[in-house]
Protein backbone atom coordinates (compact mmCIF):
# COMPACT_ATOMS: atom_id res chain seq x y z
CA UNK A 1 0.00 0.00 0.00
CA UNK A 2 2.85 2.36 0.84
CA UNK A 3 4.43 1.73 -2.55
CA UNK A 4 1.16 2.50 -4.34
CA UNK A 5 0.78 5.73 -2.39
CA UNK A 6 4.36 6.69 -3.19
CA UNK A 7 3.95 6.00 -6.89
CA UNK A 8 0.55 7.67 -7.14
CA UNK A 9 1.60 10.89 -5.43
CA UNK A 10 -0.76 13.79 -6.20
CA UNK A 11 0.69 16.32 -8.61
CA UNK A 12 0.35 20.05 -7.99
CA UNK A 13 -2.46 21.78 -9.89
CA UNK A 14 -3.41 18.87 -12.11
CA UNK A 15 -5.18 15.60 -11.68
CA UNK A 16 -3.44 12.45 -12.84
CA UNK A 17 -5.15 9.53 -14.51
CA UNK A 18 -3.94 5.94 -14.45
CA UNK A 19 -5.21 2.74 -15.95
CA UNK A 20 -4.74 -0.50 -14.06
CA UNK A 21 -2.07 -1.59 -16.55
CA UNK A 22 -0.12 1.64 -16.01
CA UNK A 23 -0.28 1.28 -12.23
CA UNK A 24 0.89 -2.32 -12.61
CA UNK A 25 3.92 -1.13 -14.58
CA UNK A 26 4.76 1.44 -11.92
CA UNK A 27 4.09 -0.61 -8.80
CA UNK A 28 5.07 -4.09 -10.04
CA UNK A 29 2.74 -5.89 -7.64
CA UNK A 30 2.99 -9.54 -6.71
CA UNK A 31 -0.51 -10.07 -8.03
CA UNK A 32 -2.96 -7.91 -9.95
CA UNK A 33 -5.82 -8.93 -7.70
CA UNK A 34 -3.97 -7.68 -4.60
CA UNK A 35 -3.26 -4.41 -6.40
CA UNK A 36 -6.92 -4.05 -7.38
CA UNK A 37 -8.00 -4.60 -3.78
CA UNK A 38 -5.48 -2.05 -2.52
CA UNK A 39 -6.66 0.47 -5.11
CA UNK A 40 -10.22 -0.22 -4.03
CA UNK A 41 -9.30 0.72 -0.48
CA UNK A 42 -7.67 3.95 -1.68
CA UNK A 43 -10.75 4.86 -3.68
CA UNK A 44 -13.05 4.11 -0.77
CA UNK A 45 -10.90 6.15 1.60
CA UNK A 46 -11.26 9.13 -0.78
CA UNK A 47 -7.58 9.44 -1.66
CA UNK A 48 -8.35 8.80 -5.30
CA UNK A 49 -11.38 8.54 -7.53
CA UNK A 50 -12.36 6.06 -10.16
CA UNK A 51 -14.29 6.73 -13.30
CA UNK A 52 -15.66 4.50 -16.02
CA UNK A 53 -14.53 5.61 -19.44
CA UNK A 54 -16.23 4.59 -22.67
CA UNK A 55 -13.69 4.02 -25.43
CA UNK A 56 -14.45 4.79 -29.06
CA UNK A 57 -14.64 1.80 -31.42
CA UNK A 58 -13.02 3.81 -34.16
CA UNK A 59 -10.31 5.81 -32.46
CA UNK A 60 -9.81 3.94 -29.18
CA UNK A 61 -9.93 7.35 -27.51
CA UNK A 62 -12.19 8.24 -24.62
CA UNK A 63 -15.74 9.20 -25.58
CA UNK A 64 -17.24 9.94 -22.18
CA UNK A 65 -16.61 9.40 -18.48
CA UNK A 66 -19.12 8.19 -15.92
CA UNK A 67 -19.01 7.91 -12.17
CA UNK A 68 -20.91 4.64 -12.01
CA UNK A 69 -21.80 1.72 -14.23
CA UNK A 70 -25.48 2.59 -13.94
CA UNK A 71 -24.87 5.90 -15.70
CA UNK A 72 -23.35 4.26 -18.79
CA UNK A 73 -25.92 4.40 -21.60
CA UNK A 74 -26.61 1.63 -24.13
CA UNK A 75 -25.87 3.96 -27.02
CA UNK A 76 -23.57 6.94 -27.00
CA UNK A 77 -22.58 9.62 -29.49
CA UNK A 78 -18.93 9.39 -30.43
CA UNK A 79 -17.94 13.02 -30.72
CA UNK A 80 -14.71 12.13 -32.52
CA UNK A 81 -16.42 10.39 -35.43
CA UNK A 82 -19.85 12.00 -35.22
CA UNK A 83 -21.48 8.56 -35.11
CA UNK A 84 -23.53 6.79 -32.49
CA UNK A 85 -22.06 3.61 -31.07
CA UNK A 86 -23.54 0.83 -29.02
CA UNK A 87 -21.64 0.50 -25.76
CA UNK A 88 -20.45 -3.01 -25.02
CA UNK A 89 -18.51 -4.19 -21.94
CA UNK A 90 -15.37 -4.29 -24.10
CA UNK A 91 -15.65 -0.52 -24.58
CA UNK A 92 -15.46 0.20 -20.86
CA UNK A 93 -12.26 1.05 -19.01
CA UNK A 94 -11.87 1.81 -15.36
CA UNK A 95 -9.59 4.80 -14.77
CA UNK A 96 -8.11 5.83 -11.43
CA UNK A 97 -7.88 9.58 -10.91
CA UNK A 98 -5.53 11.13 -8.36
CA UNK A 99 -6.72 14.66 -7.53
CA UNK A 100 -4.18 17.51 -7.47
CA UNK A 101 -2.59 18.50 -4.20
CA UNK A 102 -4.54 21.76 -4.03
CA UNK A 103 -7.86 19.99 -4.59
CA UNK A 104 -10.05 21.02 -1.66
CA UNK A 105 -13.10 19.01 -2.60
Amino acid sequence: MHKIEEVLQPQPLRKTEYSLDRICELVEPRSRDELILALGKLVQSGRMKRIIRVISHATQGGVADFNSLEEVPRVIDDGRTGLSMEVTPNDLRLIYVVPPTNDNR
Partner: protein
Protein backbone atom coordinates in the same frame (compact mmCIF):
# COMPACT_ATOMS: atom_id res chain seq x y z
CA UNK B 1 -22.52 -10.29 -22.67
CA UNK B 2 -24.10 -6.85 -23.07
CA UNK B 3 -23.58 -3.80 -20.92
CA UNK B 4 -26.96 -4.46 -19.31
CA UNK B 5 -25.86 -8.00 -18.43
CA UNK B 6 -22.69 -6.55 -16.93
CA UNK B 7 -24.71 -4.09 -14.87
CA UNK B 8 -27.00 -6.89 -13.70
CA UNK B 9 -24.04 -9.06 -12.66
CA UNK B 10 -22.40 -6.14 -10.91
CA UNK B 11 -25.56 -5.22 -9.00
CA UNK B 12 -26.14 -8.84 -8.02
CA UNK B 13 -22.58 -9.27 -6.71
CA UNK B 14 -22.64 -5.97 -4.83
CA UNK B 15 -26.03 -6.65 -3.24
CA UNK B 16 -25.11 -10.19 -2.22
CA UNK B 17 -21.68 -9.25 -0.88
CA UNK B 18 -23.16 -6.43 1.21
CA UNK B 19 -25.38 -8.97 2.93
CA UNK B 20 -22.30 -10.94 4.01
CA UNK B 21 -19.91 -10.11 6.85
CA UNK B 22 -16.80 -8.27 5.58
CA UNK B 23 -14.49 -11.21 6.20
CA UNK B 24 -16.49 -13.43 3.81
CA UNK B 25 -17.07 -10.92 1.02
CA UNK B 26 -13.81 -11.33 -0.86
CA UNK B 27 -14.11 -15.10 -1.20
CA UNK B 28 -17.70 -14.72 -2.37
CA UNK B 29 -16.85 -12.01 -4.92
CA UNK B 30 -13.88 -13.93 -6.33
CA UNK B 31 -16.02 -17.06 -6.58
CA UNK B 32 -18.76 -15.23 -8.47
CA UNK B 33 -16.29 -13.49 -10.78
CA UNK B 34 -14.64 -16.80 -11.65
CA UNK B 35 -17.99 -17.93 -13.12
CA UNK B 36 -17.95 -15.03 -15.57
CA UNK B 37 -16.00 -14.79 -18.84
CA UNK B 38 -12.36 -14.05 -18.05
CA UNK B 39 -12.28 -10.78 -19.99
CA UNK B 40 -14.82 -9.19 -17.65
CA UNK B 41 -13.43 -10.54 -14.40
CA UNK B 42 -10.78 -7.88 -13.79
CA UNK B 43 -13.03 -4.97 -14.74
CA UNK B 44 -15.77 -6.18 -12.43
CA UNK B 45 -13.31 -6.85 -9.60
CA UNK B 46 -12.12 -3.27 -9.92
CA UNK B 47 -15.69 -1.99 -9.89
CA UNK B 48 -16.72 -4.12 -6.93
CA UNK B 49 -13.59 -3.41 -4.90
CA UNK B 50 -14.11 0.33 -5.31
CA UNK B 51 -17.78 0.02 -4.32
CA UNK B 52 -17.83 -2.52 -1.49
CA UNK B 53 -15.37 -2.85 1.38
CA UNK B 54 -13.81 -6.22 0.61
CA UNK B 55 -11.82 -6.23 3.81
CA UNK B 56 -9.12 -8.76 3.19
CA UNK B 57 -7.32 -7.86 6.37
CA UNK B 58 -6.94 -11.43 7.54
CA UNK B 59 -3.57 -11.93 5.92
CA UNK B 60 -2.25 -8.51 6.84
CA UNK B 61 -3.55 -8.84 10.42
CA UNK B 62 -1.85 -12.21 10.77
CA UNK B 63 1.39 -10.80 9.36
CA UNK B 64 1.21 -7.80 11.68
CA UNK B 65 0.54 -10.03 14.69
CA UNK B 66 3.52 -12.25 13.84
CA UNK B 67 5.66 -9.16 13.31
CA UNK B 68 4.70 -7.77 16.71
CA UNK B 69 5.38 -11.10 18.41
CA UNK B 70 8.82 -11.50 16.81
CA UNK B 71 9.68 -7.86 17.51
CA UNK B 72 8.58 -8.18 21.13
CA UNK B 73 10.81 -11.25 21.50
CA UNK B 74 13.75 -9.29 20.05
CA UNK B 75 13.01 -6.40 22.39
CA UNK B 76 12.79 -8.69 25.42
CA UNK B 77 15.99 -10.54 24.44
CA UNK B 78 17.80 -7.25 23.89
CA UNK B 79 16.61 -5.84 27.21
CA UNK B 80 17.46 -9.07 29.05
CA UNK B 81 20.95 -9.23 27.55
CA UNK B 82 21.53 -5.55 28.34
CA UNK B 83 20.97 -6.20 32.02
CA UNK B 84 22.57 -9.66 32.03
CA UNK B 85 25.93 -8.55 30.67
CA UNK B 86 27.02 -5.80 33.03
CA UNK B 87 30.15 -5.07 30.99
CA UNK B 88 29.49 -6.45 27.51
CA UNK B 89 32.26 -7.08 25.04
CA UNK B 90 32.17 -5.43 21.65
CA UNK B 91 30.36 -8.31 19.96
CA UNK B 92 27.89 -8.61 22.85
CA UNK B 93 27.19 -4.89 22.63
CA UNK B 94 26.57 -5.23 18.88
CA UNK B 95 24.05 -8.05 19.40
CA UNK B 96 22.30 -6.32 22.30
CA UNK B 97 21.91 -3.16 20.31
CA UNK B 98 20.81 -5.07 17.21
CA UNK B 99 18.14 -7.02 19.09
CA UNK B 100 16.88 -3.89 20.81
CA UNK B 101 16.66 -1.84 17.62
CA UNK B 102 15.06 -4.70 15.67
CA UNK B 103 12.43 -5.00 18.40
CA UNK B 104 11.67 -1.28 18.52
CA UNK B 105 11.57 -0.89 14.75
CA UNK B 106 9.46 -4.01 14.21
CA UNK B 107 6.82 -2.85 16.66
CA UNK B 108 6.92 0.73 15.37
CA UNK B 109 6.47 -0.37 11.76
CA UNK B 110 3.62 -2.68 12.74
CA UNK B 111 1.76 -0.06 14.77
CA UNK B 112 2.54 3.28 13.18
CA UNK B 113 1.11 4.37 9.84
CA UNK B 114 3.24 6.28 7.33
CA UNK B 115 6.68 6.09 5.82
CA UNK B 116 10.02 7.49 6.82
CA UNK B 117 12.46 8.59 4.18
CA UNK B 118 16.06 8.99 5.23
CA UNK B 119 19.02 10.43 3.37
CA UNK B 120 22.02 10.06 5.59
CA UNK B 121 25.66 10.74 4.85
CA UNK B 122 27.79 8.40 6.93
CA UNK B 123 31.01 9.84 5.57
CA UNK B 124 31.90 12.13 2.72
CA UNK B 125 32.02 9.17 0.35
CA UNK B 126 29.24 7.05 1.83
CA UNK B 127 25.62 8.15 1.69
CA UNK B 128 22.65 5.99 2.55
CA UNK B 129 19.11 6.44 1.31
CA UNK B 130 16.54 4.37 3.11
CA UNK B 131 12.77 4.14 3.34
CA UNK B 132 10.31 2.66 5.81
CA UNK B 133 11.50 0.19 8.42
CA UNK B 134 15.08 0.22 7.19
CA UNK B 135 15.18 4.01 7.59
CA UNK B 136 13.85 3.68 11.13
CA UNK B 137 16.45 1.01 11.85
CA UNK B 138 19.29 3.28 10.77
CA UNK B 139 17.85 6.24 12.68
CA UNK B 140 17.45 4.37 15.95
CA UNK B 141 20.65 2.36 15.62
CA UNK B 142 22.84 5.38 15.01
CA UNK B 143 21.02 8.11 16.93
CA UNK B 144 19.94 6.10 19.96
CA UNK B 145 20.90 5.49 22.70
CA UNK B 146 22.81 8.62 23.63
CA UNK B 147 26.12 8.28 25.44
CA UNK B 148 25.39 7.15 28.98
CA UNK B 149 26.95 8.96 31.92
CA UNK B 150 30.13 7.38 33.28
CA UNK B 151 28.68 6.25 36.60
CA UNK B 152 31.62 4.03 37.64
CA UNK B 153 34.33 6.63 37.49
CA UNK B 154 32.28 9.31 39.20
CA UNK B 155 29.99 7.65 41.77
CA UNK B 156 29.09 10.90 43.51
CA UNK B 157 27.01 11.97 40.48
CA UNK B 158 24.08 10.27 38.83
CA UNK B 159 21.11 8.47 40.28
CA UNK B 160 22.34 7.98 43.81
CA UNK B 161 19.49 7.88 46.29
CA UNK B 162 20.06 8.68 49.92
CA UNK B 163 17.65 7.98 52.74
CA UNK B 164 18.34 11.10 54.74
CA UNK B 165 15.37 12.24 56.80
Amino acid sequence: MTTDDLKAEFNKIVASSLSLPPAKRLDYVLGELDKLPAEYREFLLQLVSTTVALADDRTSMKTTRNQIIISAICLIVGTFLAFYFKTPTGIQYLFIRGFFVLGVVGIAVAILVGTVNLKWSATKSLAVTATGGFALFILIYYLNPPQPPDLKSNPSQGNVQTNTP
